[in-house]
Symmetry: C2
Subunit: 284 residues, 2 copies
């Protein structure tokens, strides 16, 4: 059976209502397409927890800032369709920009506090675009479970907060980061890297490993851990740090010491490509 | 059969899921309690269009500004319960403030443009509070139809926009204003009026009737119509105008002439009580 492709919100909702009437559970994996092994792991996880998985493919203009890569973001729909089918997805929901943002559109969903640091500080307006589009996708697909990747850790925390705050009645599952053999977190943006940049890009993971080792060795101060990471990255001329921070993994507020669950997160430019990665550390 | 009272969001959603599984349609009438004939007309309208009506009763703190009447807003739950029962409501959803805004709550739904004029200008933050709480109520009750009163015309337009923009998949019905014998629009806040203020309060409706007469007589300029309304109201020493405006009934943008559907809306202080009213006029 070939996968079903739905382009209209009304048709998506009608499908969801019908599936819910049958007592079945719906899973959603929201994506911007250009699917890779990371997305496929989310689809498989969603399949384990539900009866039918919808993969949304929508390159959302409102979460890109001026000068960011909205125009050149890779679109690979035919290949995506095959991959969703292989991974066991049931529906691809792929509205166009006019369907999602018709003339007169003027509503936004805003999560405060959790969006102030990390990528929220580097990319003003980014999370407002993300929360608004995810709210729309959740209302269009009406899933019981939605799966997000831990690579976008802050995004997942922000969405979980939004879902609770707006009573969106969906379980948000955060799935582990999938990595290449050398540790680089899989990302659609890795496709932008030249071969030499690709080799340098593993420094993100290496620096996170350095942080993990330091903590394992007893280091607790954020400043010492971050200095070691900086040194690692700054040794690579092609790499430029956007941010490296340690924050509380629940509140995303700056943490000066490893206490409870902390997130060490970084964004690094490799040439003209901005990559992010993170690790959650716990003092045992 | 006695009416069912639900206080928890999860229980409300479980009820809604069950009713929807049975293929029945849910109606919602969101209120702040202190029910009156206006609300009852909304409940009856919702009954005509659905199989089971939920009346929410929640005095929402976030839509009141500093110094407004949140504390003294009338709470009359037992009487409300009887009235909902008589009007044929099936469920009262009455969460408390902690249930709706638990610690850590930090999400808002914001509609731009439509919220800039009229009550949006006089009551900064008011509509952000309204859209956020209505989004929450819609996600908690999962209605097919929600009914709002035309007295809060701008609110209804803003909510209809929010529902479209976020794909909330509910039909928003706007019900006509219910009036006292002398024309005063029924409102919970009328209870604040002293007997002499109550007599003066009919000037809101009188001034709107004046506008209607002027348009019927061929007047088209907003300035002339509004001047006549002002004169009518300013003749009453107890009355103080907050705003009188003519706007396009769809966009809520200022209208200088009666063209298409326009809304003439006003807010007037009668002593310490702020009342609103409006009329939609059309050039035939």
């Amino acid at each position: 059976m070939s996968i079903r492709v739905i382009e209209r919100i009304r048709a998506m909702q009608a499908w969801a209502d019908e599936v819910r009437r049958e007592g079945k559970r719906i899973g959603l994996v929201p994506t911007m397409g250009c699917l890779h092994e990371g997305h496929l792991s989310l689809i498989r996880l969603a399949r384990e927890r539900t009866d039918g998985v919808v993969v949304s493919i929508f390159v959302n203009p409102t979460q890109f800032g001026p000068g960011e890569d909205f125009e050149k973001y890779p679109r690979t729909f035919e290949r995506d369709q095959e991959l969703v089918e292989q991974a066991g997805g049931e529906v691809i929901f792929t509205p166009n920009v006019e369907e999602m943002y018709p003339p007169g559109f003027c509503t936004a969903v805003q999560v405060d506090k959790l969006t102030e640091g990390l990528c929220g500080a580097s990319r003003p307006g980014h999370f407002r675009g993300v929360t608004t589009v995810v709210a729309k996708l959740l209302c269009a697909v009406k899933p019981h479970v939605a799966v997000f990747g831990q690579k976008d850790f802050q995004q997942a925390v922000v969405i979980r907060r939004m879902v609770r705050d707006l009573n969106l009645n969906v379980e948000i599952v955060i799935a582990p980061i999938v990595r290449e053999a050398d540790g680089l977190a899989i990302s659609s943006r890795n496709a932008y890297l030249s071969p030499s940049e690709r080799r340098v890009a593993r420094v993100l993971f290496q620096s996170l490993e350095k942080a993990r080792e330091r903590v394992r060795a007893g280091e607790r101060e954020a400043s010492g851990i971050i200095s070691a990471m900086k040194a690692e990255i700054e040794a690579k001329p092609m790499a430029r740090i956007d941010y490296i921070e340690m924050v509380d993994a629940e509140t995303i507020e700056p943490a000066t010491r490893v206490e409870g669950r902390v997130l060490v997160a970084l964004a690094v430019w490799i040439g003209k490509t901005r990559l992010i990665d993170n690790v959650v550390l716990e003092k045992k």
